[in-house]
């Protein structure tokens, strides 16, 4: 069987600068990591692989991004992935979730013979969670979202626990399918030294728009239905009465003052 995990390279810090003109993120000069929530998808795929007879399951990472996103794929490989494909083209730049899921779905189609696609619930930068279900729609595959536990594979179906707001439900999903997983699904392993060495030497496949045979009008900023038209820093005007409380006396004073404040406003 073949499992594909779409991953995203994201900025390590939350301090991202914006290009005021295009309304897209400036990624240069920021340390890049694998989206932390994708690590759970990677681990879930590796556990499924381990549950299959030796040599019967192949796990592949795909990532859309600039050339440096290859390091994200190498990280997946250092954890045990068999191979990876980088989807990189200037034409992909500025894609919203629609145009991103479009390219990822095209790459998954090109890889072919897929049984299962496992996505992290969302990326920590864009924070939308829309790409996983978006991919499923492009490929016309069933989707199990918010999966917190994978119970096992049987006869072309996968049993999972899907988290609800106030509980969970056991689903049996026909393969091929797309799952989006949450943290509860598995504890991501650390890369091994041997894995790292293997990943460093591995030949990665890189595909561009032509390799995927995709029309320009569906790609990147041009292909995106949504436009960021304005970005602003919210100006906050509230007058905050601030007390410094660093020693016993000032802490006492502050605590009493807060109590007064609460009593004035009848909050206690």
């Amino acid at each position: 069987m073949r499992i594909i995990v779409p991953i995203k390279q994201v900025p390590e810090t939350s301090a991202v600068r914006m290009d005021e003109k295009t309304g897209t993120m400036i990624r240069d000069g920021v340390e890049a990591i694998v989206n932390p929530l994708d690590l759970y998808a990677i681990e879930a795929a590796l556990l499924l692989k381990a549950s299959q007879p030796e040599g019967q399951c192949e796990v592949i990472a795909v990532s859309m991004g600039p050339p440096k996103a290859q390091s994200a794929i190498r990280e997946a490989m250092s954890m045990g992935f068999d191979s990876g494909v980088l989807l990189s083209d200037k034409k992909f730049a500025g894609a919203d979730t629609w145009a991103t899921s479009y390219v990822l779905a095209a790459a998954i189609k090109k890889l072919g013979d897929v049984d299962l696609i496992i996505c992290g619930e969302r990326a920590t930068d864009g924070d939308t969670g829309q790409v996983g279900p978006g991919i499923a729609a492009w490929l016309d595959l069933p989707v199990g979202s918010y999966v917190g536990k994978i119970d096992g594979l049987t006869d072309g179906r996968i049993n999972v626990q899907r988290l609800l707001e106030d509980g969970h439900e056991g689903l049996e999903v026909q393969l091929p399918a797309v799952l989006t997983v949450v943290k509860e699904v598995a504890d991501p392993r650390l890369p091994t030294l041997r894995g790292k060495q293997r990943a460093r030497k591995a030949e990665l496949t890189t595909w561009n728009a032509d390799d995927l045979n995709l029309p320009d009008e569906n790609l990147g900023l041009n292909g995106s239905p949504t436009r960021v038209v304005k970005i602003f820093r919210p100006s906050v005007t509230r007058e905050c009465e601030k007390l410094i409380a660093t020693d016993d006396q000032s802490i006492n004073t502050a605590a009493d003052r807060v109590l007064e404040f609460l009593q004035e406003r009848e909050l206690v």
């Binding site: 479009y102 729609a137 106030d166 304005k230 905050c240 007390l243």
Partner: protein, 348 residues
């Protein structure tokens, strides 16, 4: 996608679970009403499930002019493929200009699937929606009366306005609690349009074997007092002190996203853009730096007290009252002080 249709209605996907409407569509109806009144169009609820007549009336009482009701036993439980098919068919037929979805587990599964299929845009977790004009300088065109989809963006302390000028419908998801609950007027009347759809078995590729609903154990929206902790709390043990403070104040605890990620508190307790939006009488923010995503979820609290050891922390910009110092010293003192304050009160 559908063509730009300025006469199109404003739609709210009316999520039901086990035959009951969830809160978020009723909240969205208040915003939909506001947007539709500016645009001069009707508000419609889109209801899928089984035995929907009462629910349809409830949507009308809460502000819908119309309800598209797709009553079918095969739709009683949410499935991505069947729901997507029905919603896409309805969009193609009735060409709404705006579709709003709750950013619930169902809505966040359904809306992106519909967007992919319809080749239209979608913005996640909006904190505000407005109507406005967009000038496309490159194309030298002006788009009037677009829906501004407003959300904190990209990790930075930035709020972005997003539009979808041409590939309609304009779609957005909104978290529970972001919009105020619409008022219920049982005298309101409206039109219920019953839709018959065939649901073939290939639209139901998922079997639901069992379901456990514990009921909501956490109801932050209803709390009068919230004591929330962030990364600055430092440990799960320290978080227990916040529980004690919440207890003496008769409130509940909550956490920022960072606190949830660090495992100090469960995700049900998360306040902010991707958690719950709250408006308690008192919000005490402890060790929370004040990222815009968090502030978006608590800034409408009636009174805000911030405790942080960094005097420059952004949280102080929304607080009415701030204490700069170590929470480990301040919180126990506050607990003591509230205790003694309460004792004084009761002896009066």
């Amino acid at each position: 996608m559908i063509e730009v249709n300025k006469n199109g209605e404003v739609w709210v996907f009316a999520e039901q679970q086990a035959g009951k409407l969830t809160d978020v569509p009723l909240e969205l109806l208040s915003k939909a009403r506001e947007l539709a009144d500016i645009l001069g169009v009707k508000v419609a609820g889109v209801l899928l499930g089984e035995g929907l007549d009462e629910l349809a009336q409830k949507l009308i009482h809460h502000g819908a002019d119309k309800v598209y009701s797709v009553d079918n036993a095969k739709l009683s439980h949410y499935q991505t493929a069947s729901y997507t098919k029905v919603i896409c068919d309805l969009i193609k037929e009735y060409k709404p200009q705006i579709c709003l979805f709750g950013a619930s587990h169902v809505g966040r599964d359904l809306a992106p699937t519909v967007a992919s299929k319809m080749k239209c845009g979608l913005t996640a977790d909006c904190t505000d929606l407005q109507i406005g004009t967009h000038e496309d300088k490159k194309e030298k065109t002006t788009h009037e009366n677009l829906m501004y989809q407003i959300r904190p963006a990209f990790g930075g302390n930035i709020i972005a306005t997003i539009v979808n000028p041409t590939r309609w419908p304009q779609m957005a998801t909104v978290r529970e609690g972001v919009m105020p609950m619409s008022e219920c007027d049982t005298k309101r009347t409206g039109e219920v349009i019953k839709i018959t759809e065939e649901i073939s078995d290939d639209l139901l590729p998922v079997t639901v074997n069992d379901m456990h609903r514990e009921g909501k154990t956490v109801d932050l929206k209803a709390a009068r007092v919230i004591v929330a902790g962030g990364a600055g709390v430092g440990s799960k043990e320290n978080f227990d002190k916040l529980k004690e403070l919440a207890h003496v104040l008769g409130g509940t605890i909550a956490g920022s996203r960072a606190a949830v990620d660090l495992g100090y508190v469960e995700s049900d307790y998360q306040v902010g853009q991707t958690g719950t939006t709250v408006r308690p009488a008192l919000y005490i923010a402890v060790g929370i730096s004040g990222a815009i995503q968090h502030i978006a979820g608590m800034q409408e609290s009636a009174k805000i007290i911030a405790i942080n050891n960094d005097p420059e922390a952004d949280i102080f910009s929304v607080a009415h009252y701030g204490i700069v110092g170590d929470m480990n010293e301040i919180v126990p003192m506050l607990i003591k002080s509230v205790h003694s304050g309460l004792n004084v009160k009761t002896t009066h």
